[in-house]
Amino acid sequence: MDGLLHQLISGIASGGIYASVALALVMIYQATHHVNFAQGEMAMFSTYIALTLIQAGVPYWAAFCITVPISFAMGAVIQRVLMEPLAKAPILASVGVFIGLLLMFNSVAGWIFTYTLKPFPTPFGEGKPLFGGFISRHELGSTAITLVVLLSIWAFFRFTRLGLAMRAAAFNPVSSRLVGVPVNKMLALGWGLAASIGAIAGMMVAPVIFLDPNMMAGVLLYAFAGALLGGITNPLGAVIGGFIVGIIENLGGAYVVGTELKLTTALFIIVVVLTVKPAGLFGKTVVSRV
Protein backbone atom coordinates (compact mmCIF):
# COMPACT_ATOMS: atom_id res chain seq x y z
CA MET A 1 0.00 0.00 0.00
CA ASP A 2 2.77 2.43 0.92
CA GLY A 3 4.57 1.52 -2.26
CA LEU A 4 1.48 2.25 -4.32
CA LEU A 5 1.01 5.64 -2.70
CA HIS A 6 4.65 6.46 -3.29
CA GLN A 7 4.42 5.49 -6.95
CA LEU A 8 1.23 7.53 -7.30
CA ILE A 9 2.88 10.64 -5.86
CA SER A 10 5.94 10.19 -8.07
CA GLY A 11 3.56 9.80 -10.98
CA ILE A 12 1.91 13.11 -10.18
CA ALA A 13 5.32 14.78 -9.91
CA SER A 14 6.52 13.56 -13.31
CA GLY A 15 2.99 14.02 -14.68
CA GLY A 16 3.32 17.73 -13.91
CA ILE A 17 6.43 17.90 -16.11
CA TYR A 18 4.62 16.10 -18.94
CA ALA A 19 1.61 18.36 -18.44
CA SER A 20 3.80 21.47 -18.83
CA VAL A 21 5.45 20.23 -22.01
CA ALA A 22 2.06 19.01 -23.29
CA LEU A 23 0.69 22.50 -22.74
CA ALA A 24 3.60 24.00 -24.67
CA LEU A 25 2.92 21.57 -27.52
CA VAL A 26 -0.79 22.44 -27.57
CA MET A 27 -0.09 26.17 -27.60
CA ILE A 28 2.03 25.87 -30.72
CA TYR A 29 -0.38 23.35 -32.23
CA GLN A 30 -3.32 25.69 -31.87
CA ALA A 31 -1.47 28.50 -33.60
CA THR A 32 0.22 26.54 -36.36
CA HIS A 33 -1.66 23.21 -36.52
CA HIS A 34 1.66 21.43 -36.27
CA VAL A 35 3.33 19.66 -33.38
CA ASN A 36 6.65 21.29 -32.56
CA PHE A 37 8.94 18.26 -32.31
CA ALA A 38 11.74 20.56 -31.18
CA GLN A 39 9.87 21.69 -28.04
CA GLY A 40 11.77 19.21 -25.86
CA GLU A 41 15.18 20.04 -27.30
CA MET A 42 14.53 23.75 -26.81
CA ALA A 43 13.75 22.98 -23.15
CA MET A 44 16.92 20.90 -22.85
CA PHE A 45 18.98 23.76 -24.28
CA SER A 46 17.41 26.20 -21.80
CA THR A 47 18.33 23.85 -18.97
CA TYR A 48 21.96 23.92 -20.12
CA ILE A 49 21.84 27.71 -20.05
CA ALA A 50 20.64 27.51 -16.44
CA LEU A 51 23.37 25.03 -15.56
CA THR A 52 26.03 27.24 -17.14
CA LEU A 53 24.82 30.20 -15.09
CA ILE A 54 24.75 28.15 -11.89
CA GLN A 55 28.26 26.83 -12.53
CA ALA A 56 29.40 30.41 -13.08
CA GLY A 57 28.32 31.14 -9.52
CA VAL A 58 24.84 32.60 -10.09
CA PRO A 59 22.44 31.55 -7.28
CA TYR A 60 19.82 28.98 -8.34
CA TRP A 61 16.74 31.20 -8.36
CA ALA A 62 18.57 34.03 -10.08
CA ALA A 63 19.69 31.57 -12.77
CA PHE A 64 16.08 30.36 -13.01
CA CYS A 65 14.81 33.90 -13.44
CA ILE A 66 17.41 34.69 -16.12
CA THR A 67 16.85 31.43 -18.03
CA VAL A 68 13.10 31.93 -18.44
CA PRO A 69 13.27 35.26 -20.31
CA ILE A 70 16.23 34.01 -22.39
CA SER A 71 14.12 31.00 -23.40
CA PHE A 72 11.20 33.32 -24.13
CA ALA A 73 13.38 35.36 -26.47
CA MET A 74 14.70 32.18 -28.10
CA GLY A 75 11.15 30.96 -28.82
CA ALA A 76 10.02 34.34 -30.14
CA VAL A 77 13.07 34.67 -32.40
CA ILE A 78 12.51 31.16 -33.82
CA GLN A 79 8.93 32.12 -34.68
CA ARG A 80 9.96 35.42 -36.25
CA VAL A 81 12.94 34.16 -38.22
CA LEU A 82 11.98 30.59 -39.13
CA MET A 83 8.23 30.09 -38.81
CA GLU A 84 6.83 33.39 -40.03
CA PRO A 85 8.24 33.09 -43.55
CA LEU A 86 6.67 29.60 -43.64
CA ALA A 87 3.20 30.77 -42.63
CA LYS A 88 1.79 29.98 -46.06
CA ALA A 89 4.14 27.13 -46.93
CA PRO A 90 2.91 23.54 -47.20
CA ILE A 91 2.81 21.39 -44.05
CA LEU A 92 5.95 19.46 -44.91
CA ALA A 93 8.02 22.63 -44.91
CA SER A 94 7.08 23.34 -41.29
CA VAL A 95 7.61 19.72 -40.29
CA GLY A 96 11.04 19.90 -41.89
CA VAL A 97 11.89 23.01 -39.89
CA PHE A 98 10.74 21.38 -36.64
CA ILE A 99 12.89 18.32 -37.27
CA GLY A 100 15.78 20.53 -38.31
CA LEU A 101 15.46 22.50 -35.09
CA LEU A 102 15.38 19.29 -33.08
CA LEU A 103 18.60 18.00 -34.65
CA MET A 104 20.24 21.40 -34.49
CA PHE A 105 19.55 22.01 -30.79
CA ASN A 106 20.57 18.46 -30.00
CA SER A 107 23.91 18.60 -31.79
CA VAL A 108 24.75 22.14 -30.75
CA ALA A 109 24.11 21.16 -27.13
CA GLY A 110 26.28 18.07 -27.58
CA TRP A 111 29.01 20.16 -29.19
CA ILE A 112 29.06 22.87 -26.54
CA PHE A 113 28.22 20.90 -23.40
CA THR A 114 29.27 17.35 -24.43
CA TYR A 115 27.09 14.24 -24.25
CA THR A 116 28.07 13.20 -20.71
CA LEU A 117 25.31 13.07 -18.12
CA LYS A 118 25.50 16.04 -15.77
CA PRO A 119 23.85 16.39 -12.39
CA PHE A 120 21.55 19.39 -12.09
CA PRO A 121 20.94 20.98 -8.68
CA THR A 122 17.54 21.08 -7.04
CA PRO A 123 16.58 24.26 -5.20
CA PHE A 124 14.39 22.39 -2.74
CA GLY A 125 17.13 20.69 -0.73
CA GLU A 126 18.36 17.11 -0.71
CA GLY A 127 17.16 16.26 2.83
CA LYS A 128 14.98 13.36 3.90
CA PRO A 129 11.73 12.63 2.12
CA LEU A 130 8.71 14.28 3.68
CA PHE A 131 5.39 13.01 5.02
CA GLY A 132 6.62 9.65 6.20
CA GLY A 133 8.90 9.14 3.23
CA PHE A 134 6.23 9.37 0.55
CA ILE A 135 7.47 12.38 -1.31
CA SER A 136 10.92 13.82 -1.81
CA ARG A 137 11.52 17.51 -1.30
CA HIS A 138 12.21 17.91 -4.99
CA GLU A 139 9.02 16.12 -6.01
CA LEU A 140 6.97 18.35 -3.75
CA GLY A 141 8.75 21.53 -4.84
CA SER A 142 8.69 20.80 -8.54
CA THR A 143 5.01 19.81 -8.42
CA ALA A 144 4.23 23.09 -6.68
CA ILE A 145 6.19 25.10 -9.28
CA THR A 146 4.50 23.20 -12.09
CA LEU A 147 1.05 23.89 -10.67
CA VAL A 148 1.83 27.58 -10.23
CA VAL A 149 3.03 27.77 -13.84
CA LEU A 150 -0.03 25.95 -15.19
CA LEU A 151 -2.45 28.07 -13.15
CA SER A 152 -0.78 31.33 -14.18
CA ILE A 153 -0.91 30.35 -17.84
CA TRP A 154 -4.57 29.41 -17.52
CA ALA A 155 -5.40 32.70 -15.78
CA PHE A 156 -3.41 34.63 -18.38
CA PHE A 157 -5.32 33.14 -21.30
CA ARG A 158 -8.66 33.23 -19.55
CA PHE A 159 -8.68 36.67 -17.97
CA THR A 160 -6.33 39.02 -19.79
CA ARG A 161 -6.90 41.00 -22.95
CA LEU A 162 -3.54 39.88 -24.31
CA GLY A 163 -4.38 36.23 -23.58
CA LEU A 164 -7.67 36.55 -25.41
CA ALA A 165 -5.95 38.23 -28.36
CA MET A 166 -3.41 35.39 -28.49
CA ARG A 167 -6.17 32.79 -28.57
CA ALA A 168 -8.02 34.74 -31.24
CA ALA A 169 -4.88 35.05 -33.35
CA ALA A 170 -4.39 31.29 -33.15
CA PHE A 171 -7.98 30.43 -34.06
CA ASN A 172 -8.74 33.02 -36.71
CA PRO A 173 -5.84 35.19 -37.88
CA VAL A 174 -7.84 36.96 -40.60
CA SER A 175 -10.59 38.18 -38.28
CA SER A 176 -8.04 39.01 -35.62
CA ARG A 177 -6.22 41.42 -37.92
CA LEU A 178 -9.55 43.02 -38.84
CA VAL A 179 -10.26 43.88 -35.20
CA GLY A 180 -6.73 45.27 -34.85
CA VAL A 181 -4.83 42.36 -33.27
CA PRO A 182 -1.20 42.25 -34.49
CA VAL A 183 -1.27 38.53 -35.29
CA ASN A 184 2.43 38.01 -35.95
CA LYS A 185 3.36 39.54 -32.62
CA MET A 186 0.85 37.27 -30.89
CA LEU A 187 2.35 34.17 -32.53
CA ALA A 188 5.84 35.22 -31.48
CA LEU A 189 4.57 35.74 -27.92
CA GLY A 190 3.00 32.27 -28.03
CA TRP A 191 6.30 30.70 -29.07
CA GLY A 192 8.10 32.63 -26.36
CA LEU A 193 5.61 31.50 -23.75
CA ALA A 194 5.79 27.87 -24.88
CA ALA A 195 9.61 27.97 -24.76
CA SER A 196 9.48 29.46 -21.25
CA ILE A 197 7.12 26.76 -19.99
CA GLY A 198 9.42 24.15 -21.54
CA ALA A 199 12.45 25.72 -19.88
CA ILE A 200 10.84 25.52 -16.45
CA ALA A 201 9.84 21.89 -17.09
CA GLY A 202 13.43 21.13 -18.15
CA MET A 203 14.87 22.68 -15.00
CA MET A 204 12.38 20.76 -12.86
CA VAL A 205 13.01 17.37 -14.48
CA ALA A 206 16.80 17.63 -14.82
CA PRO A 207 17.61 16.90 -11.13
CA VAL A 208 15.64 13.65 -11.44
CA ILE A 209 16.82 12.26 -14.79
CA PHE A 210 20.16 14.14 -15.13
CA LEU A 211 21.03 16.56 -17.90
CA ASP A 212 22.29 15.44 -21.29
CA PRO A 213 21.39 16.49 -24.84
CA ASN A 214 18.86 13.63 -25.12
CA MET A 215 17.25 14.34 -21.78
CA MET A 216 13.94 15.53 -23.19
CA ALA A 217 13.40 12.84 -25.83
CA GLY A 218 11.49 10.61 -23.43
CA VAL A 219 9.74 13.53 -21.75
CA LEU A 220 8.54 14.84 -25.12
CA LEU A 221 7.13 11.45 -26.01
CA TYR A 222 5.23 11.22 -22.70
CA ALA A 223 4.06 14.81 -23.10
CA PHE A 224 2.88 14.10 -26.63
CA ALA A 225 1.01 11.05 -25.38
CA GLY A 226 -0.54 13.23 -22.68
CA ALA A 227 -1.53 15.93 -25.16
CA LEU A 228 -3.14 13.37 -27.44
CA LEU A 229 -4.86 11.61 -24.56
CA GLY A 230 -6.39 14.82 -23.23
CA GLY A 231 -7.04 16.27 -26.65
CA ILE A 232 -4.49 18.26 -28.61
CA THR A 233 -7.04 21.01 -29.25
CA ASN A 234 -7.77 21.49 -25.56
CA PRO A 235 -5.07 22.99 -23.29
CA LEU A 236 -6.77 21.89 -20.09
CA GLY A 237 -7.30 18.42 -21.51
CA ALA A 238 -3.63 18.20 -22.46
CA VAL A 239 -2.61 19.15 -18.93
CA ILE A 240 -4.89 16.53 -17.41
CA GLY A 241 -3.62 14.05 -20.01
CA GLY A 242 -0.04 14.82 -18.97
CA PHE A 243 -0.82 14.02 -15.35
CA ILE A 244 -2.64 10.80 -16.30
CA VAL A 245 0.32 9.67 -18.40
CA GLY A 246 2.70 10.39 -15.52
CA ILE A 247 0.63 8.26 -13.17
CA ILE A 248 0.18 5.43 -15.70
CA GLU A 249 3.91 5.48 -16.43
CA ASN A 250 4.87 5.15 -12.77
CA LEU A 251 2.26 2.61 -11.73
CA GLY A 252 2.67 0.63 -14.94
CA GLY A 253 6.45 0.70 -14.56
CA ALA A 254 6.28 -0.49 -10.97
CA TYR A 255 3.56 -3.13 -11.20
CA VAL A 256 2.83 -4.12 -14.78
CA VAL A 257 5.49 -3.80 -17.44
CA GLY A 258 8.65 -3.03 -15.48
CA THR A 259 11.02 -0.12 -16.08
CA GLU A 260 12.31 -1.44 -19.40
CA LEU A 261 8.95 -1.04 -21.10
CA LYS A 262 7.96 2.28 -19.48
CA LEU A 263 8.46 4.30 -22.61
CA THR A 264 6.48 1.76 -24.58
CA THR A 265 3.44 2.65 -22.47
CA ALA A 266 3.60 6.15 -23.90
CA LEU A 267 3.67 4.82 -27.47
CA PHE A 268 0.88 2.40 -26.58
CA ILE A 269 -1.26 5.29 -25.29
CA ILE A 270 -0.60 7.28 -28.48
CA VAL A 271 -1.66 4.41 -30.70
CA VAL A 272 -4.76 3.58 -28.65
CA VAL A 273 -5.93 7.20 -28.52
CA LEU A 274 -5.41 7.72 -32.23
CA THR A 275 -7.39 4.60 -33.10
CA VAL A 276 -10.16 4.78 -30.51
CA LYS A 277 -10.74 8.46 -29.83
CA PRO A 278 -8.66 10.68 -32.13
CA ALA A 279 -9.96 13.91 -30.55
CA GLY A 280 -8.73 12.75 -27.14
CA LEU A 281 -10.69 12.53 -23.89
CA PHE A 282 -11.50 16.22 -23.67
CA GLY A 283 -10.79 17.38 -27.21
CA LYS A 284 -13.92 18.95 -28.53
CA THR A 285 -14.93 18.79 -32.11
CA VAL A 286 -15.88 22.41 -32.61
CA VAL A 287 -19.44 22.81 -33.75
CA SER A 288 -19.98 25.40 -36.41
CA ARG A 289 -22.88 26.38 -38.56
CA VAL A 290 -22.22 27.95 -41.88
Binding site: A165, V179, V286
Partner: protein, 235 residues
Amino acid sequence: MLLEVKALHGAYGESKVLHGLDFVVEEGGVTALLGANGAGKTTTLRAISGMIKVEGEITFAGKRIDGMATEAIAKLGIAHVPDGRGTFMELTVEENLRLGSYTRNDRAGIAADLAKMFELFPKLKERYHQQAGTLSGGEQQMLAIARALLLRPRLLLLDEPSFGLAPLIVREIFATLDEIVKATKVSILVVEQNASLALAIADRAYLLETGRFVMSGAAEDIRKDETLRRSYLGY
Protein backbone atom coordinates in the same frame (compact mmCIF):
# COMPACT_ATOMS: atom_id res chain seq x y z
CA MET B 1 -14.26 63.13 -47.69
CA LEU B 2 -13.83 60.16 -45.40
CA LEU B 3 -12.48 57.68 -47.92
CA GLU B 4 -11.04 58.49 -51.30
CA VAL B 5 -9.92 55.78 -53.70
CA LYS B 6 -7.99 56.58 -56.87
CA ALA B 7 -7.01 54.26 -59.72
CA LEU B 8 -7.28 51.17 -57.56
CA HIS B 9 -5.87 47.99 -59.11
CA GLY B 10 -5.94 44.70 -57.29
CA ALA B 11 -5.09 41.11 -58.13
CA TYR B 12 -4.92 37.64 -56.64
CA GLY B 13 -1.60 36.39 -57.89
CA GLU B 14 -1.74 36.56 -61.67
CA SER B 15 -5.44 37.20 -62.12
CA LYS B 16 -6.38 40.87 -62.03
CA VAL B 17 -9.67 41.60 -60.36
CA LEU B 18 -9.85 45.39 -60.07
CA HIS B 19 -9.07 47.55 -63.09
CA GLY B 20 -8.66 51.11 -61.85
CA LEU B 21 -11.50 52.06 -59.53
CA ASP B 22 -12.15 55.65 -58.48
CA PHE B 23 -14.69 56.27 -55.79
CA VAL B 24 -15.41 58.12 -52.59
CA VAL B 25 -17.25 57.44 -49.37
CA GLU B 26 -18.65 60.57 -47.77
CA GLU B 27 -18.77 61.17 -44.03
CA GLY B 28 -22.02 59.77 -42.62
CA GLY B 29 -24.57 57.71 -44.46
CA VAL B 30 -24.41 54.57 -46.52
CA THR B 31 -22.59 53.91 -49.77
CA ALA B 32 -23.50 50.73 -51.63
CA LEU B 33 -21.22 48.73 -53.87
CA LEU B 34 -23.40 46.63 -56.14
CA GLY B 35 -22.64 44.01 -58.71
CA ALA B 36 -22.92 40.37 -59.64
CA ASN B 37 -20.83 37.49 -58.37
CA GLY B 38 -17.18 37.92 -59.29
CA ALA B 39 -17.49 41.64 -60.07
CA GLY B 40 -14.80 42.49 -57.51
CA LYS B 41 -16.93 43.77 -54.63
CA THR B 42 -15.30 41.69 -51.89
CA THR B 43 -11.87 42.39 -53.38
CA THR B 44 -12.52 46.12 -53.16
CA LEU B 45 -13.24 45.84 -49.43
CA ARG B 46 -10.18 43.64 -48.95
CA ALA B 47 -8.08 46.22 -50.74
CA ILE B 48 -9.28 48.97 -48.40
CA SER B 49 -8.43 46.83 -45.35
CA GLY B 50 -4.96 46.01 -46.63
CA MET B 51 -5.72 42.31 -46.99
CA ILE B 52 -4.39 42.14 -50.55
CA LYS B 53 -1.62 43.93 -52.39
CA VAL B 54 -2.90 46.90 -54.37
CA GLU B 55 -1.81 49.60 -56.74
CA GLY B 56 -3.36 53.02 -56.57
CA GLU B 57 -4.15 55.45 -53.79
CA ILE B 58 -6.43 54.89 -50.83
CA THR B 59 -6.84 57.87 -48.52
CA PHE B 60 -8.74 57.57 -45.27
CA ALA B 61 -9.47 60.73 -43.27
CA GLY B 62 -6.62 62.49 -45.03
CA LYS B 63 -4.12 59.67 -44.51
CA ARG B 64 -2.72 57.31 -47.15
CA ILE B 65 -3.53 53.77 -46.03
CA ASP B 66 -2.60 51.67 -49.07
CA GLY B 67 0.29 49.41 -48.14
CA MET B 68 -0.44 49.64 -44.42
CA ALA B 69 -0.92 46.48 -42.31
CA THR B 70 -4.51 45.36 -41.77
CA GLU B 71 -4.32 45.74 -38.00
CA ALA B 72 -2.99 49.29 -38.35
CA ILE B 73 -5.84 50.20 -40.70
CA ALA B 74 -8.34 48.79 -38.19
CA LYS B 75 -6.74 50.94 -35.52
CA LEU B 76 -7.36 54.07 -37.62
CA GLY B 77 -11.08 53.38 -37.42
CA ILE B 78 -12.05 51.07 -40.26
CA ALA B 79 -14.05 48.05 -39.11
CA HIS B 80 -14.60 45.26 -41.60
CA VAL B 81 -17.23 42.53 -41.45
CA PRO B 82 -15.70 40.09 -43.92
CA ASP B 83 -17.50 37.66 -46.19
CA GLY B 84 -18.43 34.62 -44.16
CA ARG B 85 -18.80 36.99 -41.15
CA GLY B 86 -15.41 36.19 -39.61
CA THR B 87 -16.85 34.79 -36.39
CA PHE B 88 -14.38 33.44 -33.84
CA MET B 89 -16.21 30.10 -33.73
CA GLU B 90 -14.26 28.58 -30.85
CA LEU B 91 -14.70 31.59 -28.58
CA THR B 92 -17.78 32.73 -26.70
CA VAL B 93 -20.05 35.57 -27.80
CA GLU B 94 -18.61 37.61 -24.95
CA GLU B 95 -15.04 37.02 -26.13
CA ASN B 96 -15.98 37.86 -29.72
CA LEU B 97 -17.36 41.19 -28.54
CA ARG B 98 -14.37 41.87 -26.30
CA LEU B 99 -12.12 41.36 -29.32
CA GLY B 100 -14.18 43.96 -31.17
CA SER B 101 -12.98 46.62 -28.74
CA TYR B 102 -9.37 45.36 -28.78
CA THR B 103 -7.98 48.66 -30.12
CA ARG B 104 -9.72 50.75 -27.44
CA ASN B 105 -8.71 51.57 -23.88
CA ASP B 106 -11.73 53.53 -22.63
CA ARG B 107 -13.38 51.01 -20.30
CA ALA B 108 -16.45 53.14 -19.61
CA GLY B 109 -16.99 53.85 -23.30
CA ILE B 110 -16.68 50.16 -24.19
CA ALA B 111 -19.21 49.19 -21.50
CA ALA B 112 -21.63 51.83 -22.77
CA ASP B 113 -21.21 50.65 -26.37
CA LEU B 114 -21.75 47.05 -25.31
CA ALA B 115 -25.02 48.03 -23.63
CA LYS B 116 -26.03 49.73 -26.89
CA MET B 117 -25.27 46.54 -28.83
CA PHE B 118 -27.53 44.57 -26.49
CA GLU B 119 -30.29 47.06 -27.23
CA LEU B 120 -29.78 46.72 -30.96
CA PHE B 121 -29.35 42.95 -30.87
CA PRO B 122 -31.11 41.52 -27.78
CA LYS B 123 -30.30 37.98 -29.00
CA LEU B 124 -26.62 38.58 -28.27
CA LYS B 125 -27.38 39.22 -24.62
CA GLU B 126 -29.25 35.91 -24.37
CA ARG B 127 -26.34 34.09 -25.98
CA TYR B 128 -23.59 36.03 -24.20
CA HIS B 129 -21.82 33.01 -22.69
CA GLN B 130 -22.45 30.60 -25.55
CA GLN B 131 -19.81 29.38 -27.98
CA ALA B 132 -20.15 31.62 -31.04
CA GLY B 133 -19.97 28.68 -33.45
CA THR B 134 -23.32 27.42 -32.19
CA LEU B 135 -25.13 30.61 -33.19
CA SER B 136 -27.44 30.64 -36.20
CA GLY B 137 -26.34 32.45 -39.34
CA GLY B 138 -28.47 35.47 -38.53
CA GLU B 139 -27.15 35.67 -34.99
CA GLN B 140 -23.59 35.37 -36.26
CA GLN B 141 -24.23 38.26 -38.65
CA MET B 142 -25.54 40.35 -35.76
CA LEU B 143 -22.50 39.36 -33.71
CA ALA B 144 -20.21 40.35 -36.56
CA ILE B 145 -21.84 43.76 -36.91
CA ALA B 146 -21.76 44.33 -33.14
CA ARG B 147 -18.11 43.24 -33.02
CA ALA B 148 -17.26 45.69 -35.77
CA LEU B 149 -19.19 48.56 -34.17
CA LEU B 150 -17.38 48.01 -30.85
CA LEU B 151 -14.22 49.20 -32.57
CA ARG B 152 -16.13 52.51 -32.69
CA PRO B 153 -15.23 52.86 -36.35
CA ARG B 154 -15.55 55.94 -38.52
CA LEU B 155 -16.03 53.64 -41.49
CA LEU B 156 -17.77 50.28 -41.41
CA LEU B 157 -17.18 47.88 -44.29
CA LEU B 158 -19.93 45.28 -44.65
CA ASP B 159 -19.45 42.36 -46.99
CA GLU B 160 -22.80 41.00 -48.05
CA PRO B 161 -24.71 41.06 -44.77
CA SER B 162 -27.63 39.24 -46.39
CA PHE B 163 -25.59 36.23 -47.47
CA GLY B 164 -27.21 32.88 -46.68
CA LEU B 165 -29.91 34.35 -44.44
CA ALA B 166 -33.68 34.03 -44.49
CA PRO B 167 -35.48 37.06 -45.97
CA LEU B 168 -37.10 37.92 -42.65
CA ILE B 169 -33.76 38.00 -40.83
CA VAL B 170 -32.22 40.03 -43.66
CA ARG B 171 -34.94 42.65 -43.35
CA GLU B 172 -34.41 42.80 -39.60
CA ILE B 173 -30.67 43.28 -40.02
CA PHE B 174 -31.06 46.02 -42.62
CA ALA B 175 -33.61 47.80 -40.42
CA THR B 176 -31.06 47.72 -37.59
CA LEU B 177 -28.33 49.03 -39.91
CA ASP B 178 -30.62 51.91 -40.88
CA GLU B 179 -31.16 52.62 -37.18
CA ILE B 180 -27.40 52.58 -36.55
CA VAL B 181 -26.71 55.03 -39.38
CA LYS B 182 -29.34 57.43 -38.11
CA ALA B 183 -28.23 57.21 -34.48
CA THR B 184 -24.45 57.38 -34.95
CA LYS B 185 -21.97 59.18 -37.14
CA VAL B 186 -20.54 55.99 -38.61
CA SER B 187 -20.26 55.78 -42.40
CA ILE B 188 -21.01 52.47 -44.05
CA LEU B 189 -19.68 50.99 -47.25
CA VAL B 190 -21.82 47.97 -47.95
CA VAL B 191 -21.31 45.33 -50.61
CA GLU B 192 -24.47 43.56 -51.75
CA GLN B 193 -25.79 41.29 -54.42
CA ASN B 194 -29.29 42.05 -53.25
CA ALA B 195 -29.47 45.50 -54.85
CA SER B 196 -32.98 46.45 -53.81
CA LEU B 197 -32.14 45.91 -50.15
CA ALA B 198 -28.94 47.92 -50.32
CA LEU B 199 -30.50 50.76 -52.32
CA ALA B 200 -33.26 51.07 -49.74
CA ILE B 201 -30.79 52.21 -47.07
CA ALA B 202 -28.02 53.67 -49.26
CA ASP B 203 -27.45 57.31 -50.11
CA ARG B 204 -25.04 56.63 -52.94
CA ALA B 205 -24.31 53.57 -55.02
CA TYR B 206 -21.64 52.30 -57.37
CA LEU B 207 -22.28 49.50 -59.80
CA LEU B 208 -19.34 47.20 -60.42
CA GLU B 209 -18.90 44.90 -63.40
CA THR B 210 -15.79 42.72 -63.76
CA GLY B 211 -13.56 45.14 -61.91
CA ARG B 212 -14.82 48.38 -63.42
CA PHE B 213 -17.54 50.83 -62.46
CA VAL B 214 -20.28 50.97 -65.05
CA MET B 215 -22.40 53.43 -63.19
CA SER B 216 -22.64 55.50 -60.02
CA GLY B 217 -24.99 58.02 -58.53
CA ALA B 218 -27.51 58.84 -55.84
CA ALA B 219 -29.26 55.72 -54.63
CA GLU B 220 -32.63 57.35 -55.08
CA ASP B 221 -32.02 58.07 -58.77
CA ILE B 222 -31.01 54.49 -59.42
CA ARG B 223 -34.02 53.19 -57.56
CA LYS B 224 -36.29 55.34 -59.75
CA ASP B 225 -34.65 54.53 -63.06
CA GLU B 226 -36.47 51.44 -64.20
CA THR B 227 -34.41 50.75 -67.32
CA LEU B 228 -31.23 50.91 -65.30
CA ARG B 229 -32.57 48.61 -62.66
CA ARG B 230 -33.79 46.07 -65.18
CA SER B 231 -30.64 46.01 -67.25
CA TYR B 232 -28.08 46.02 -64.45
CA LEU B 233 -29.69 45.06 -61.20
CA GLY B 234 -32.25 42.55 -62.37
CA TYR B 235 -35.28 43.61 -60.41
